[in-house]
Subunit: 318 residues, 6 copies
């Protein structure tokens, strides 16, 4: 099996891929001809591809997010590798392929991630905080197991959100040992809930965000998470003006730190300061790690990484 990430120029390939996009376009010729402008993907990356002669059957056969078997050859076009498809067919049951093997995922199994989150959640000793967290986890339902953490900034893949939360919980535990003055219950609750309304802000399938939802655009995940806490408190009979409720909302609302980054208030509780910087540390390092993993074997520099000022990262020889 050949990973897309390891493709080189002029290679002949016959293999299974995910048809991530499949647009019918027309050449500039007169009369114009139709062709398929395609993105092929596997878990290692993706490549732009063309299928030049498109029959009317083809147009009714191939659709995005379908698994296909293709035969073709890699070519260099404007300094970038692309793929010329000579043959393409749908995958059948006999091929024994599962879509989960062709998409990017967190390196830890989604079920394990969700279990960890639930287990940490049930370890929160303050009953009110625990109930609010569990109410929100229940509200998310099974999206918790597969949602990405963002559209493209970081953790943008299957179970990316849960993976981000789990790593932050580990860091939070370490920091609370280093600094016992921090309220571990509050920090745990803040970490689990900080991005939880991304499941309402974003529309995503198989770990890929297709768009922001109407609610996502008009309210945003920060205020949505805060609304969920109000809803949970009212439902559970916890006062919306109780310090616990206010503190937890403060953590969520302030976790982007500055107004220009989307936070209507700035951190003023120790745990809010901790939450912001734990989030930063995890998001930035993951974005760097993902960028390194997406590099072709021959590259020295990664693609520009948005969350570190669009800088490229250098991969040292080991």
């Amino acid at each position: 099996m050949s990973l897309i990430k390891s493709f080189t120029e002029g290679q002949e390939i016959t293999d299974f891929f995910l048809l991530k996009a499949a647009d019918i376009k027309q050449t500039n010729a007169n009369p114009p001809k139709e062709y398929f402008d395609v993105i092929l993907a596997d878990a290692s990356g993706e490549i732009s591809a063309k299928l030049w002669d498109v029959s009317s059957t083809d147009k009714e056969t191939f659709f995005p997010m379908m698994l296909v078997k293709v035969k073709g050859v890699t070519q260099l076009y404007r300094d970038r590798l692309q793929f010329r498809i000579n043959k393409m067919r749908k995958v059948t049951d006999e091929d024994g392929c599962s879509i989960k093997d062709f998409i990017k995922s967190a390196p830890i199994d989604a079920i394990d991630l969700v279990n960890t989150i639930k287990s940490v959640s049930s370890s929160i000793q303050d009953q009110d905080l625990r109930s609010i967290v569990e109410f929100c986890i229940a509200k998310v339902g099974d999206k918790l197991s597969h949602y990405p953490a963002a559209k493209g900034m970081h953790h943008a893949y299957y179970a990316g959100l849960a993976y981000h939360v789990v790593r932050m919980l580990e860091l939070g535990e370490f920091i609370c040992k280093q600094r016992p003055f921090l309220n571990h219950d509050l920090l745990k609750a803040g970490i689990i809930l900080h991005d939880i309304a991304k499941t309402e802000e974003l529309n995503a399938e198989m770990g890929v965000v297709t768009e922001y939802s109407l609610t996502g655009k008009l309210i945003g995940h920060i205020s949505l998470s805060s609304n969920w806490i109000t809803e949970a408190a009212l439902h559970l009979g916890i006062g919306v003006n109780d310090e616990k409720t206010i503190f937890l909302q403060h953590l969520i609302l302030s976790h982007h730190n500055l107004g220009e980054w989307g936070s209507p208030v700035q951190p003023q509780l120790p745990e809010a300061v901790a939450l912001h910087y734990i989030d930063q540390l995890d998001a930035k390092l993951q974005a760097v790690e993902d960028a390194l993993n997406s590099m072709n074997d021959s590259d020295e520099w990664s693609a520009p990484v948005r969350v570190i000022e669009n800088k490229q990262v250098y991969r040292a020889k080991r």
Copy 2:
């Protein structure tokens, strides 16, 4: 009766004032002596004052927000007028003074302002929006009649909040006539609720903000208003994901326009754009009008006005 705003140097004054602040301080002398460092106020302005010989009776007699009769003289100190108190006594019932006459107030009676707001509120034709607005008005209670709109930026006086809302409602009505594509119901609701949680964000008495509340600092009035709408919707059985609920929250959340001004999302509904600019127009012009009203008769330039980049405003001769 002599208005503070019209005081000139070397004037002898015997009159009633509000004792807005009254701190006991010590001179640098050795041994130090105690004196009262005082702020006297009336509806036209305020002046710093000193009462040099303080008896122990005095210390148990005079407290902030008390009405007093004083006798003394104005003096120039470091280019600013201040007042030297020679005699001071508490006001008695016979003096027939009411504290309301000594504080800054909106130029329209508070009762009329509240009635206007309630009347506009009941004119909202959409039943859900109307119910949410009325729920929030009920929640505020009588604070609606006397709260200021801010600590010092604009409308910082008795009934300033209600006055700001009424003026904006007038403007909103005009704009909706000019531009019928706007949803007047939604704009009315947005105007009435946009600053309503300032009553929870700020602690205020007699139109003067003493401090931000804990909730005010940690959540802020923008997110608090949004929370109130969630609460109202849940209480009234309106869906928290209904477009009406979302639209109204969007108006509140986006009404400061930019992240660095406190809004976690930016206006994306026509009424949200209208709300922001109506708010701006009213707040800035009121701040200018208030600054002109606070000028001494002999001044050409007002004090710096914070909401217009700390610029001073020139008062033309008419």
Copy 3:
């Protein structure tokens, strides 16, 4: 008649349009062939189009800003609708078409707009201010009836400038009733003159700006308007150092509010503050209204609107 804004994919069209642009280009074929890359427009919008086989007669027949009759079909290309022209001919007198029907215009007739401006101008009671305003209106000549208010930000169509001014005058009148301390004469003069030198800053035809003029680039409309006032004052024998002259120049110079938005001084007169925020309110709401009017019937979100931070606007179902 089919409006461009309502075109859908695969529609056959035979109708009149404005040929807004008509560039001769070459295909990548070897040898390359020439084709027309065209923009067709009507009052509802515009669409990119191609005429693939171009004869040498065609090249001498078709030029921008000409009315044409075309026959062709709509196609989807890279997710955007474009038009394939099969036949195209010039419009003849018998077709009975007028170019005014094919361009975007203000919703009020240009003559009425100009009359309103002149009528408000003659209502200015201060004789000096009135004379300066009338001098500038005379200087602009008939450009006042058709110039747009900007290249693309807002009011970018036939008579857009006059429409913007009229709406602002209405708002100004309302505000002066709300706040009688404002000098209505000065505000009227400021509103009429604030963008008047756009007629010198921009080169425009039929409501479309083709480019900035040399003077526009080197001086800009703000300083140009200020120069015009100096010129008017000298011509009319009004002192250039009279408060009226200075106040009016101050309103013009400060109406963009901040230095980074082009104003060399910041508002320091009440009417200057009013002018800036009235301008803002009108420009932003008009940009939103125009964006909604330009949406295709099936869209939920408008194109990004530059003057509101490039945000898209959501169109609610009514």
Copy 4:
């Protein structure tokens, strides 16, 4: 004669000084006593001083900008040297003092500076540019010989404006030799006129700015200079739309480079780019030189210099 700049702690002084400020203040004692809070100055610097026992005669004798003879002693107060006056009297004719000897001045004689400016002005070969420049020089009158270039940023002393212009003319001549593509006439005109309206923007006496004028605040020297050019062109029968007029106005309007620094347009002519950077180079270096000259002999670091980001400058031992 003892220079203020060389004063050390505990020194007894009897000498002539300029009474730059003389405020009557009151001690905190009860009853308070009056004293003179004074600034003494000579050409080398200034020092804060107190005269503790003030008679009513004193109050009618001593006023700012008067020359006095004082006897007293230097003292350290809150880490800064100040002066305790024991005796003070007005200067008489017999003392033979001239105020010019007690104020900061440009290091070149004002008459020579003005002559240089006029001589360069008459060397401008283009007749229109020369006439405009000469019109403006005539308009300024004798303020050209004594005005400072700013309130405190740089060249804030007697003849500072003329000195700044002369140094820039020298630099401009050098640059035009290095780069013959520059239009020397235009650059000369731009240098002479770039700050010329500071004489209208600022109210100044003896090289010291007391305040901004009304016109200065509302219009600013950049737009004022531009207005002057319009006035000159109209008066001289030169077209206000002639390239020369526009170019010269462009140089003036753009010479602060960015909008946030006060320029409504940015440099787009080579001479405008040259003018801005010549102005920068001269202003910054002069501010540094002035800061070094104001240092006490024992200091290693100057006071913070506003125009170089409030940095202090280190004076190396030679």
Copy 5:
């Protein structure tokens, strides 16, 4: 023993303190009298104090950073507690006081901190990196055991620098376990050296920075640390252009992340990203912890904390 942090109004105190500052000042009386304006400190905080009658012996007896025994009383002055000293004497050997007990220190013993740093340093497996680190540690000498990490931002106390480094090393170890793709050797070296030249940038005694050194102002600790690495490499015969040398310099140079925060280059190695965010997390949380520790027992809100946008931190009741 009474801790300064627990002082309340009107308390009589007789105890040992550090005389952190002792300035001789003069009253405003006529003739003025001399008094001592003093800062008394212990490990819990500091308080402003006055000794009103100063003899000439006193002036030769008391100097900053001396231990004293004082008797006096606490007073409220302008809302702040201060201390009136009635008696003061120098500490003698019999008093058995050590200055170390009166200054703020890291909560871990300096010797242990230094040992940890040295031990981590010797655990670096790459010989070149280890040698460079050890060269720099040797160059710092015993300053490593007592220097603060900053003038006032964070870790501003005895051994603050070493404490900051040790905590970061712990965090670095944790992160390298979470993310094995990171080069632990490089990160260890970067953490130890990132602020090491603060020992040259700042002049400090007993954990208190008195001022920036000349080199500190002109070069800054970031470039100084980079210079040290060049020096180490040349001394040790390691190529200045070796990747190791360059990588380590990159970590140091980029550790403030952005240009406006002092870094001439931005992080482009994974370890550089890690270093920046580990530094942030530790510095911010320590500043918050220090602010909480400095609060009086009755406070709800801390003093403004500079490194978190000057926000105050709320201390929840436990």
Copy 6:
């Protein structure tokens, strides 16, 4: 001989050019065909060109930075002139062409520039400064004679760096005459060394930067130059903490003035202030001069110039 800069549409050309780039690409045809996408250059400018039928011999014959003789015709494509190559061959010795004649160069001969720099260098009277400068010049070697000063901002051509330095030295000499308080030795050294490590930061051939080096990206020329001075001082036995060494490093480190422009410290020596503004003046004016020189004969406005806020420059008719 026809200069590229003077090409007009439809011109037939047979001449020698530099093949600055030569990429093999494929048409969109099916099957795709290969063609050469080429940039032809001479000293006056460059033009995009196509050679449509590429043989396999061609692919082994033509490479970038080779001189060729071509025959073809100019065409307009998307409003820009490009060139269609009909014939192309390599240059032979008989053609008598030298690559130096086909690239952009400084207007002064490289040898003369280097001689000037060395001569100024040897005129530095302070022996330590002179030795450090000469050490660095020796380290650069012959790159000094041909390196450009930047990738594209200014002086981006053969010997651009040396030309920039020489012009700045001339300006520096003039300024030191105007202001004798400046240390001319230090300024000379600063000017020569300020950009010297661009020779290590950039990879360049024939005056064209191909990319930033690894060291250039991770360290940057500012810190590299500072490192070189450390190296020079250690090698020459000059103290790295001597004021001279520190001063020179300060000049280099601060010469971009602000942190966001890449300087880790800001100018705090008079010569550092001078260096920054001399650098600015020379770089901006050169960028403008180069932009004017690159204009086609028929243009009125230059291409946008990056270093002056991307503004275009107007070329006045003379």
